[in-house]
Symmetry: C2
Subunit: 561 residues, 2 copies
């Protein structure tokens, strides 16, 4: 037997500890050392917003395992508060500094794992260093933000960036009693995650919960007093606040790798092959510092996610202990809870799909997440993106107070396996009233997309209808709901006409022979009515997908969901 | 154009109305008539237990659409309280009787759809006709059961059959204040649905909720007074009760089809091809009166389910209006809520898989359905069945207070698409603390099964350990939990030894070199410890899968879950 294998792991977040623990199980003899620049290792970083909000009461609950436990249970040496200064690839050695006493020394390796994660992007905006402006990455960040909140004078917070962390922080700060204004440079919330239809529904919900959204605005400066931030200045206005969360995105922490000459990808990611091996065969990298193959397009995408980091660790552990496992890639699944709405996405968005060259057909449907008669039934709104040529599902997303995430996970499994919309129509999902309707919203959605693919029906998005109304186009917006529904909430426009569905057949002679857009509450009756009208000879009939439930304009006066 | 197509649909449950409504959308001109022997059509039959329990307050909530609405909205003629007496295939004509006035007449068809559903099996047991013994199929059944409950003198109920309906009724009758005894001829609850490990965990929960289970007992008679049932007599004992629910299973209602000479399958099902067409090309059948292809084995199985019936209706509607759609089959997904446990299954059970000729490896794992630190995290226990040769997932099942059903639905999608255990290991499921841990229990489960496939670890089921203890075998049952855990609950046996995991490495020299079964609370530490022991040279080491969490014996004294 040769000498014991020397494994060094840089980074103690998610991928690092996972690698270390499994490497120990696979190789009982190896010398395994994990190096972390801060005090904490292996903590639930994704739980920090819930610690800040108060939903998770004790910070300790987020600390999975400390250095001592790691040594006892997995026989892994953990060097905390230790910085890696450089990698000498030729000598198979790294230079480190003990941050407690500034002592410098070297460590040798046979296999090196870089799991340095990602860092929040913080551009050199004027005033960015004022006290009260904070990113959220680590446990100390969270502690400092909690202090900031408690010391806030104005009780007003500004969140810069409507990405996943920004959205979670909007809920957390609101829960802490702050008035939150969110600034996002792009025109919708979660712009990298959601299509506009879904994002706008979520944005409506946030407004209902008291969050002020400033979309399409860029931060240009921060202003303060006595070194403390007092307001954020955008290209359009000035926004008061003495707590500022800066969350415009993260970038792979690939400096060490770059400095030692490893190949770096176009997104600043450490380039790895399917074994998560870098351009140096003795160095592996995983977690938020690498990109992943998008299993749909085959392109490499930078989508940092704690779940992926854990899977990376699992694979790397095998490969540095003599195994050969692959990490195939991701389908870009993401989810986020924002107040009472559950939101998720998987695969490609509609625009992403089109940009990638796919001809697509989409559908959007609201529906209850279990039968309406069963207690606790709640609404969900789902969108599906399907390739016309292959009928393959390319993506799906949804939002609403109901169980959106189950459907996203089902689609994640389906998309990973190349499922077509036809298979989704007949998919044998679990059915019992406490869990689901006999047909899931996914089934109705798949049927809708299939009907569109077959040319059986023509849909139109609520936002497109809005545009037609704004342009004062000449068409009929035919509402087929009941009169009481109409009297409670309706779209006020000269084009609107009420003709309740049960009397549609007898009354349709009142309709002019021009473009007709049929609407109801959720789209179901509108779909049915559109079929009836088409059969009766009306040529230009569309139904408004999602109808009033997906109508994001303020004309409704009150929230539908 | 020819004359209008004449479509007759026999049955107004789930498949019938679905067929009628979609056929109307696809063919605006057809004459569509639906015939139902009772008053109600298109009601949520699966919701009846929840109406009985009181969870669904208003019966009307279960009535989806009545005959009048069906006429107005879909222009379908509905003949309620009308019995079909026979089918004259040569004449394309059926004979019916109006049950209100006994008037007999005929109806012609071009296409006939048989959606007659299934009937509860009621064998001619002595005393079966006593008042107080009831099946649950229809709305009037539910009303009569509610009356029975209110008139119950003993407040004791007997449920015969621990299938899906029996289980739902156990909860419903308990909720109504009755003391419930459940009698099942086979040795476990949900014998057709669950493997023993999962079924026994669910049975434990039912016992904790006050249900008395009489498994492995056959009903031989009922006895009563004044024509009213007072007790059920099994082959082993006499059980008091004046409310008896008889739910031992259902059989396809294929009498009409059989009488007219259509091909009937071995399970009494109306034989249909993939277009749901019977042996007569102008007659289709769907819903609970037909069997379905099991997509894993290719065999036809009789698994009546409201969800499948709706999908059948969708397909039949296309095929009777000139289209050509297929219904490929099912993966035998099922779920049921029983008190606080959510239970589901999909694919093949372990024994079913072995009986079908597959060599399988299985795994079982408990875990929280979202991170333990997040409020509302609850335990789930999942089992996976994988084919050794192809590594394909054949089945999965689970139970527990947490969100089991999401995982079942993910597996349903995966199994339908032929997913392997390796793909499940890396499946990109949605991750955020309110919804899931970074690695889902499904990931841990897939990793476990893969490790077993690769020979990296050896598992043993709790029931097998119990058997070894009962046989007084010579081995070590090594508990690696902490001393406080041990003192709170432990398996009392001379073979048991406590050696907490953090001190395992230093203390393992105390262990004898014989067969060692390692256990902890959920199996995670035991797995880790088993790796450590194997590495240290112990030859015969197994870890107990699911450990104490999946231990169904009473030795624990109190429920773990």
């Amino acid at each position: 037997m040769g000498k014991k294998k020397n494994i060094l792991i840089i980074g103690g977040g998610a991928c690092g500890p996972k690698t270390a623990a499994r490497a120990r199980r696979l190789d009982p003899d190896a010398q395994i050392t994990m190096i972390q620049d801060e005090l904490f290792i292996s903590y639930a970083a994704c739980g920090l917003p819930y610690y800040i909000s108060g939903a998770v009461a004790a910070r300790n609950a987020l600390l999975v395992r400390d250095a001592l436990a790691f040594k006892k249970i997995s026989n892994v040496d953990v060097l905390v508060k230790t910085r890696v200064d450089g990698i000498d690839r030729a000598a198979h050695r790294i230079n480190v500094t003990d941050l407690s006493d500034k002592r410098q020394y070297t460590l040798d390796y046979d296999k090196l794992v870089i799991a340095t994660g990602a860092n929040p992007v913080v551009p050199p905006i004027k005033g960015i260093n004022l006290q009260g402006i904070h990113v959220l990455k680590s446990v100390p960040d969270a502690d400092e933000i909690i202090t900031l909140i408690s010391e806030s004078v104005t009780k007003k917070a500004v969140i810069v960036g409507a990405g996943l962390i920004g959205m979670e922080m909007a809920e957390a700060l609101t829960a802490r009693g702050l008035a939150v204004t969110m600034v996002e440079a792009l025109e919708r919330v979660l712009p990298a995650v959601l299509d506009a239809e879904i994002a706008d529904l979520l944005a409506n919900h946030m407004k209902n919960k008291g969050v002020t959204l400033k979309l399409g605005q860029k931060i240009v400066a921060f202003e303060g007093e006595d070194g403390k931030v007092r307001r954020a200045i955008t290209d359009k206005e000035s926004i008061e606040g003495d707590v500022v969360i800066f969350a415009i995105g993260v970038r792979p922490d690939s400096k060490l790798a770059e400095d030692t000459g490893l190949d770096i990808g176009p997104q600043g990611d450490i380039l790895v092959n399917e074994y998560l091996q870098t351009s140096d065969p003795d160095i592996y990298a995983g977690g938020d510092c690498v990109a992943n193959v998008n299993l749909i397009t085959g392109h490499r995408v930078f989508v940092p996610m704690g779940s992926t980091a854990n899977k990376h660790g699992h694979v790397i552990a095998a490969n540095i202990t003599g195994g050969k496992e692959k990490f195939p890639g991701i389908v870009v699944t993401a989810c986020v809870k924002v107040f009472d709405f559950n939101t998720g996405r998987v695969g490609l968005g509609e625009k992403q799909a089109k940009d990638a060259g796919y001809e697509v057909v989409t559908g959007m449907i609201p529906g209850p997440d279990k039968p309406g008669y069963y207690p606790g039934s709640r609404e969900i709104i789902l969108k599906l993106i399907v390739e016309v040529k292959t009928r393959r599902i390319l993506g799906g997303q949804g939002t609403g107070p109901g169980d959106v995430i189950k459907r996203i996970d089902v689609l994640a499994a389906g998309i990973t396996m190349g499922m077509t919309v036809d298979t989704l129509c007949d998919l044998d999902l679990a059915y019992a009233p406490p869990y689901n309707s006999a047909l899931d919203v996914l089934h109705h959605l798949a049927n809708l997309v299939r009907n569109k693919l077959e040319g059986r029906t023509t849909g139109i998005k609520p936002a497109e209808v809005k545009e037609k109304l704004d342009k004062k186009e000449d068409f009929v917006l035919l509402d087929v709901r009941s009169r009481p529904e109409w009297e409670s909430t309706r779209i006020e426009a000269p084009q609107t006409l009420l003709l309740p569905q049960p009397k549609l057949s007898e009354d349709m002679n009142r309709l002019p022979h021009k473009e007709i857009v049929v609407m109801c509450r959720r789209g179901g009756r509108a779909y049915q009515a559109a079929c009836t009208l088409k059969s009766a000879g009306f040529q230009d009939v569309k139904f408004m997908e999602g109808s009033l439930t997906c109508w994001c304009d303020e004309v409704c006066g009150k929230p539908i969901l």
